[in-house]
Symmetry: C2
Subunit: 474 residues, 2 copies
């Protein structure tokens, strides 16, 4: 079932490809200071593309770090709702470079089993997800015959998401008035599969901690002292082995206190999403078995339950051969993924209490838990904005709105800041797939997903206009 | 109670100081290939000093690594026993250099609470312990009025002890005929305190293993996969936390099977050695508490019981900030100290069985346990050679032979190779003290300890001559 929106998109695919090809050649790696000029060039490129699309207001907003791009196209309709699109124009580093089959910043078209793929760093995360909005806006205007969109559309595309968005909350606070909106459309996620229309309804939060254990004042000779004084590596192993209980639950005291239980309806909705665990294991998870908290499925473990992971551990001698020491120190880095309604600022005290409870005599501990972290974010699946989104996605996929499934994203981003600081509900529209290798070598995007999303966003601006979204509206 | 030996030593202290001062200026660090010429120069210096002392045979024996020095002074007495002195002329590296109060290769005399100290790398480990034999031999000849020693004295001073003696067993095998002897006098250890005459009766053996655990095929994003696939760092923590049971015993299957139990007499003899645990903790052990295997004292834990220590552990991210990964691999290096009659070659299979027993589903393990290792070595405290040694030490300390205490050395060296390949009993005569900071910055020797040892060795050659040591003698 075609539509004017789809017809426009399908006849302008080359525009999207040309945009992406140019943008993806800019190595806007925010984590690497050497690439700061590239991140700035990426912002400039996007600003130019937004102007060419017709946005009357396009600004580059500096931050103490990398610049963000802001654009606004007001609707001429009085009382039209305001939608704010969130995305980012920076990309992950590319190492290990030797594992890339093609140069990461020379976008290459590859014919895949599900359609044409574009391979490049940032192809989906997040330049592809931002770029479809350019085509989508043009399709919306062409299909509706309007000079201005049916809703006021704002875009905020930051340049530090892959570096933890260190200045994003400050930017939101500083520019709050300009960012006022009725709904936030997050375009930094994806769908369950190329043939499964779906939307993300939650992202996990994040807190981190570094633990240092100290034993002897200096590295000791293991022959002269081994077996008679505490070894911090032994203490660290015992501590970390107690991070999860036999049910795979995190043992930090109070860790689950604020976790909103999964309702039967939420579990039923998650369960509708087809999930091939063997394909997931042999594909993206690259693991032999699935494991985790007892009583929850793999999608629930990743999307809807809080977790604790040791991301790094080190101490003593790691060179060739052996060195017979009892090292003075042992170290570990941990991150915690949080779900609603956990708060990242609670985790530091929980980690400290947990370390104290597991510390053997003669070992001293230091816990460094930086303030901040990322709060979990969630959509209200019964909101008017969600109704509009489901209708828009359904049209792009030739499906009914109730065939659009709900997924949860295990990762974390600044979405909760948008929700909390702007006081607007979140919906998620993105074209990524679990097989897109984001953050890894050979990142790619399935181009038909971007075409569907461009069409969906064109529908979305029209659908949102018909709803009573305005805060304070009856 | 003076003796001709002591009179000679006391009137030739300057000779010992001059020898040591010259030798300690040569930075013979065997672990650093850049110092290979210095190790060679150190061998040359020692060969010259042995010739000046009067040894008729002095040879430098090349190895695939650093050269050893061999010397022999046959006794003119028919049927005189043969003693072989073992020591080494290489030294430990000096880093961290900034912690040295004086340049490590500019020997400095310091007046300490117990007498003059000489501060330099190698001052006691092991140049001091070898150098006293030069003065000791001259004292023996002068005191007895002999032209040749009362026993045939051989010296074998290797150049790779601080690098694990990789070519020592091969050298022993190759030069077996030249090294034939009735007793081996190891001079690479020390005594319990400056005023406690004692001898070491055992050294621990050593085996090492490196363990790699593998989970996902690549580092995974902890947001997308955290909580749902096995994390090798978690598996490593659980594995290593199971290395000891609640009684502090090593859990490797079969680890204790060949351990010779401590007899009541041995424990009583060890218990005679004064040990101030608080002074040990606040001094050399630099630790807050003593801990270890239940039912054993600290000296027993270090000297007479086998132990397992994790010397290094690493995996995942160790840089600034955090990196939200589940790493593909985790690593650990372990060493095991062994006591009679454990065999280092048994440990690899024990480690493999232990790892297999503790491996969670979805994690693969690789155990790298190099062949070799070091066997434990022990003296027979009731042998004729021990009787001679105790008499010699007692005379040097103005004590009775039964006042000479027995200690055990927790460290490991190639002594078992000497015992096994040459088929001769070991005795230990060395002047080190627990406070000498061997292997650490500010290594020193208490010079009166070397004077006592020089005198003791002069007595020893005389005492040994009177005993029936010859293998095969009735």
């Amino acid at each position: 079932m075609t539509s004017p929106e789809r017809e426009y998109v399908q006849s302008h695919l080359d525009d999207l490809h040309a945009d992406l090809d140019a943008w993806l050649r800019i190595p806007s790696i925010s984590a690497d200071p050497a690439h700061a000029p590239d991140v700035a060039a990426s912002a400039e490129w996007l600003a130019g593309a937004l102007r060419r699309t017709g946005f009357p207001t396009v600004e580059i907003w500096p931050t103490p770090g990398a610049p963000a791009v802001f654009a606004e196209w007001p609707s001429a309709d009085p009382g039209a709702p305001v939608a704010l699109v969130y995305g980012h124009h920076d990309v992950q580093p590319v190492d290990p470079l030797e594992l890339w089959e093609r140069p990461p910043f020379e976008p290459t078209l590859v014919e895949g089993p599900d359609g044409p793929e574009l391979h490049a760093r940032g192809a989906i995360d997040d330049k592809g997800n931002v770029a479809f909005h350019l085509l989508g806006m043009r399709a919306h205007l062409a299909a509706t015959g309007r000079d201005t969109p049916a809703v006021t559309v704002k875009l905020l595309v930051e340049g530090e998401e892959e570096s933890g968005s260190p200045h994003f909350a400050g930017l939101l606070c500083e520019r709050r008035d300009r960012l006022d909106c009725d709904v936030v459309v997050v375009s930094d996620t994806g769908m369950a599969a190329h043939d499964i229309p779906s939307t993300v309804t939650a992202m996990r939060g994040l807190a981190d901690a570094e633990i240092t254990l100290r034993g002897p004042a200096v590295d000791l000779h293991s022959g002269s002292f081994g077996g008679a004084v505490p070894n911090p590596l032994h203490a660290m192993a015992r501590l970390l082995s107690a991070l999860h209980d036999e049910q795979g639950r995190v043992t930090l005291p109070g860790f689950y206190d604020k976790v909103r239980p999964l309702s039967d309806r939420e579990r039923e909705l998650m369960g509708r999403v087809p999930f091939d665990e063997q394909a997931w294991l042999s594909g993206p998870a690259a693991s032999r078995v699935a494991t985790g908290e007892t009583g929850f499925s793999t999608p629930e473990r990743v999307g809807a339950r809080p977790t604790a992971e040791v991301n790094g551990m080190w101490g003593g001698y790691a060179g060739p051969g052996h060195k017979t020491i009892i090292p003075a120190e042992a170290h570990a880095k941990l991150t915690f993924r949080l779900v609603a309604d956990q708060r990242p600022e609670d985790v530091a005290a929980q980690v400290r209490a947990w370390v104290d409870a597991h510390l053997p005599e003669g070992i001293e501990a230091e816990v460094h838990a930086p303030p901040g972290g990322v709060a979990p974010a969630a959509s209200d699946i019964d909101s008017p904005a969600m109704t509009a989104l489901l209708r828009a996605i359904a049209q792009a996929f030739d499906a009914e709105p109730d065939a659009v499934l709900f997924t949860r994203e295990g990762g974390s981003g600044p979405e909760a800041d948008l929700q909390e600081q702007l006081g607007a509900p979140l919906v998620f529209l993105g074209g990524g797939l679990p097989t897109d290798r984001i953050h890894s070598p050979n990142e790619r995007v399935l181009l038909p997903m971007l075409h569907r999303c461009a069409e969906a966003t064109a529908h979305l601006w029209r659908e949102l206009a018909g709803l009573s979204l305005r805060r304070g509206a009856s």
